[in-house]
Symmetry: C2
């Protein structure tokens, strides 16, 4: 079964490919523009996007993810991509300078539509903390400043190790289970 | 002629009322939910919102405004309301701490649909700078940390004085001119 992953982010695409291709799914990257609304939760953004896409697409995967920092009332949250583009990791570290409450979590929400089936959404999160300085070269986005074990950043984990614990890795696992339950692969 | 201003912001509503009611327009506050998309410009957000509203409303005014800080690549921009809610003025000041390049501008984009007429959009901006600390008690939003004259913040201006130079004041002037050109008030 072929599944189009609608994303322009090569880092996300690599994670999906690694997680899904071993299951006999033919994952390919597609580009279909769709509206992302301003909302408080990833689920609202993904749900709205799916409604738009279903008018032209019969099968797709979309996702949205974000970094939610407790001390900043969830900022950057749903607007993580924008905050990364404008402020970057250094900007977020500057806002967090001197702040002792550093709890944060990555969230990932995946919307999936299979041919002839009802659409569904799966979500997962990974609890952690904002580091004092960026660490490591791997990953993408806010990975260098987020740690789930309090020691190494997401950028310092190998892809297998990261997928085992990350928000997206866990959400993809749920996605696979859900696909298996509705499709005979 | 009655015009429904679709906003939940009482500060904006006061500014519209003062600017428009002297012209014989009966301005009232209405609440109609509409989608705000994630986009790089206010014009895209307003334009998309209008398309949605026009499916149920024949006459309305919506607006969107934002603070665009040069040093932060335009942040918080289209997401100013969210940044205000999560980071607040103090959060933005912290990001700007020690930054000498403080140029910023407020932008306002107004979408207007009059009964039986084509919808239109007007925009205006007000150049200024981010202050080192909040000043004054008036206004709302990022007014306390923005100054157009380098001395007083928007919060320290009287409403008449602010309306004469502000992004919204100038956009409302354009709106009034445009309404006059299409309607016999």
């Amino acid at each position: 079964m072929r599944i189009k992953v609608i994303t322009s982010n090569p880092g996300k695409m690599r994670e999906y490919a690694q997680a899904l291709e071993g299951l006999g799914l033919d994952v390919f990257q597609g580009s279909v523009p769709y509206d992302e609304i301003q909302a408080d939760t990833l689920e609202e953004v993904v749900s709205h996007g799916m409604r738009g896409l279903m008018m032209s697409e019969d099968s797709f995967i979309i996702d949205d993810s974000g970094l939610f920092i407790d001390h900043l009332n969830g900022f950057p949250g749903v607007y993580s991509a924008y905050a990364l583009k404008t402020l970057g990791n250094q900007g977020v570290l500057k806002i967090m300078d001197g702040v002792s409450e550093r709890d944060a979590r990555f969230e990932c929400c995946i919307g999936c539509k299979l041919p002839g089936k009802e659409p569904f959404i799966v979500s997962a999160s990974c609890e952690g903390a904002i580091l004092d300085a960026p660490r490591g070269e791997g990953g993408f986005g806010f990975d260098p400043i987020f740690s789930s074990d309090g020691v190494r950043s997401f950028s310092e984990l190998g892809m297998d190790e990261k997928n085992a614990i990350s928000h997206r890795g866990q959400a993809v696992k749920k996605l696979v289970q859900r696909i298996k339950s509705v499709e005979d692969l």
